[in-house]
């Protein structure tokens, strides 16, 4: 799962060198790079969510028309989704694709801001020495606002616990914005409402899991998650605004 770890770690070193040896700056820049690479997927997710919102009136009509025939209601609903190119899994897919990225980032951050020497020893054999100025950088500067970026949140630096809370808040908001609404379609059929309920559970459980996850891993990783969510929320509003303007001019 961590096959991207060394490339990420080397990119982190390069960015650190280019950005005046700022560790948070390097993490922020790497976050931006990763999110730009994921942009096609997140745009697809966002547009699918928008289409879902747009078809809500038609879903209501189907629900009323086939109120006594659940099977036909389900068939008509699924046909509508297909015709309008709406995906119920659009909210989950980016998360699943991001999992190998997260695991690779954990290894990369632990290699560049190690809390123990075993974290960094293997990486010493995989530094891309052809990159300018990267030799000698490891370990990166590890403090930010009095927190140790290479260690998990701790009582000694009690304010470091705010970062996992921010991870929860920003990822929950991101999920809410980018996941298609399912409340109206939940009553269409038993099978569909289960899928809808699962989606709703995921929207809360994933941010909670991420919060508990970041309580056990270096603070630097929390910074990545928070920034990543903030970037996606900004992307959401930018794309929404652009689509609204495009519709207006059409």
């Amino acid at each position: 799962m961590a096959f991207l770890a060394y490339p990420f770690a080397n990119i982190l070193l390069l960015l650190y060198n280019l950005l005046g040896q700022s560790t948070v700056g390097a993490i922020a820049a790497l976050t931006l790079v990763i999110n730009l690479l994921m942009l096609p997927l997140t745009l697809k997710q966002q547009r699918s969510a928008r289409r879902m919102q747009e078809i809500q009136p038609e879903l209501e009509k189907i629900k009323k028309k086939y109120a006594k025939d659940k099977e036909k209601q389900a068939q008509a609903t699924m046909k509508l989704y297909q015709d309008k190119n709406v995906s119920l899994t659009a909210g989950c897919l980016p998360l699943l694709i991001q999992l190998p990225i997260w695991f690779s980032l954990i290894v990369a951050i632990k290699a560049c801001i190690p809390s123990t020497p075993l974290d960094v020893f293997q990486f010493s054999q995989h530094i891309y020495r052809f990159l300018p100025g990267v030799v000698g950088l490891v370990p990166l500067q590890n403090t930010f606002l009095g927190m140790d970026l290479g260690m998990k949140p701790s009582p000694a630096q009690w304010w470091s616990y705010t970062l996992p809370v921010l991870v929860f808040a920003t990822s929950w908001l991101q999920q809410k914005l980018l996941t298609p609404p399912t409340s109206d379609s939940a009553n269409a059929s038993g099978q569909e409402s289960m899928a809808a309920q699962q989606m709703k559970t995921m929207q809360t459980m994933m941010p909670l899991l991420m919060m508990f996850f970041t309580l056990q891993y270096p603070v630097g990783l929390s910074i990545y998650f928070v920034l990543s969510s903030v970037i996606r929320i900004a992307q959401y509003y930018i794309v929404q605004l652009r689509d609204i303007r495009a519709e207006g001019s059409a």
């Binding site: 020497p117 075993l118 020893f121 000698g136 490891v138 590890n142 616990y161």
Partner: protein, 353 residues
């Protein structure tokens, strides 16, 4: 994801270590500290006596002096949101009973400490160097550096020389804890310095081995390689031996830094080399598990000892035996003959499996 959130996975975060003193070996061996006979590896004592009742993990080589064995440990926190507990223990050298403990550090102790003139000094992952009164464990002073301290200090004539990952080698007064000088390199210092006459030798993560004047902290000469220097170098007579993490072994003139020979082992090496007592053999422990014995005259490989384990710690030589601590292997410690690498004993002994 669930494993990550639960914090499961208790793989070692550092390596075990051994120290030899007289006819005993003292080993920090994960869940216990042991005193073993250097002759046959038989156990003399262990601390704690019931490892299953303790959460402490012991890493790094013990320091021995003035009737005490001083080791460091790490224990997991009591609650989900707690912090690991890092402790220094002073154990009676004869019985292994704990005489004192100190748990005032906020970072992991990776390498062992050093003892000098009644003071025990050790660096921590929290960036501080701690000095404890050896007899009681009382904190004498702390010295703050800018990053993790992973190096074993060297204590000479009332001065502590210790490297930090903040790219400095510090000279600190042993009794006052005040800085005498600081030498700045271009990479982290993680190895123990070696002293020859008035010159200190230490490598750094900037691929450079430095020779530094012990009085002033000024650079005397430097050697640049293609990989980090991590383990501390060794000096015998007027020759300095050093290994970089890419497995390049150097023999250098200690005064000028001129290369006498070099040997490419082409394996990763974390540990510093060790020299036999007669100066004829140089021992290098490679991380994949091979102990290499080289002729100090020209670097010719005399023999190798392969192990199904990982070697992170420098070998230790005493008389005709070289001792090696091992990680992830069937055996934790192995003793082989200096001349030919023939096994003398292993620990735990095969009949105990």
């Amino acid at each position: 994801m669930l494993l990550g959130t639960s914090g499961c996975g208790s793989a070692p975060t550092s390596w075990t270590g051994i120290t030899i003193d007289g006819d005993r070996i003292y080993a920090a061996d994960f869940d216990t500290v042991q005193a073993l006979s250097a002759d046959d590896g038989s156990e003399v004592w262990a601390f704690p006596t019931n490892p299953k009742g303790s959460n402490d993990m012991f890493y790094a080589a013990p320091a021995v002096g003035e009737g005490l064995v001083v080791v460091a440990s790490k224990a997991p926190p009591g609650g989900f949101l707690g912090q690991d507990i890092y402790t220094v223990w002073g154990l009676d050298v004869e019985s292994g009973r704990d005489a004192w403990s100190f748990d005032g550090a906020a970072g992991e102790f990776v390498e062992g400490g050093a003892i000098g003139q009644g003071v025990f000094v050790i660096g921590s992952g929290d960036g501080y160097v701690y000095a404890l009164e050896l007899e009681t464990g009382r904190l004498l002073w702390t010295f703050e550096t800018g990053h993790r301290v992973w190096a074993t200090p060297l204590i000479i004539s009332g001065v502590v020389y210790v490297g930090s990952a903040d790219r400095h080698l510090y000279a600190i007064d042993l009794f006052e804890g005040t800085q005498r000088w600081a030498f700045e390199g271009d990479g982290a210092f993680a190895g123990r310095p070696a002293l020859w006459q008035e010159t200190l030798f230490v490598g750094a993560f900037d691929d450079t081995l430095y020779a530094i004047d012990v009085e002033t902290g000024s650079e005397v000469w430097r050697l640049e390689s293609d990989n980090w220097f991590w383990g501390g170098p060794a000096v015998y007579s007027d020759t300095l031996y050093a290994v970089d993490v890419g497995g390049r072994v150097y023999a250098l003139d200690a005064e000028t830094g001129a290369e006498i020979w070099r040997r490419e082992l082409e394996v990763p090496v974390r540990a510093g080399p060790a020299v036999s007592e007669d100066g004829s053999r140089l021992f290098v422990a490679s991380q994949p598990g091979t102990l290499h014995a080289l002729d100090t005259a020209d670097g010719y490989e005399m023999w190798t000892d392969d192990n199904e384990a990982q070697l992170y710690m420098s070998p230790i030589v005493s008389g005709s035996i070289v001792y090696q601590a091992m990680l992830y292997g069937q055996y934790r410690i192995k003793a082989v003959q200096v001349d030919n690498g023939r096994e003398v004993w292993v620990y735990p002994p095969p009949e105990a499996e």
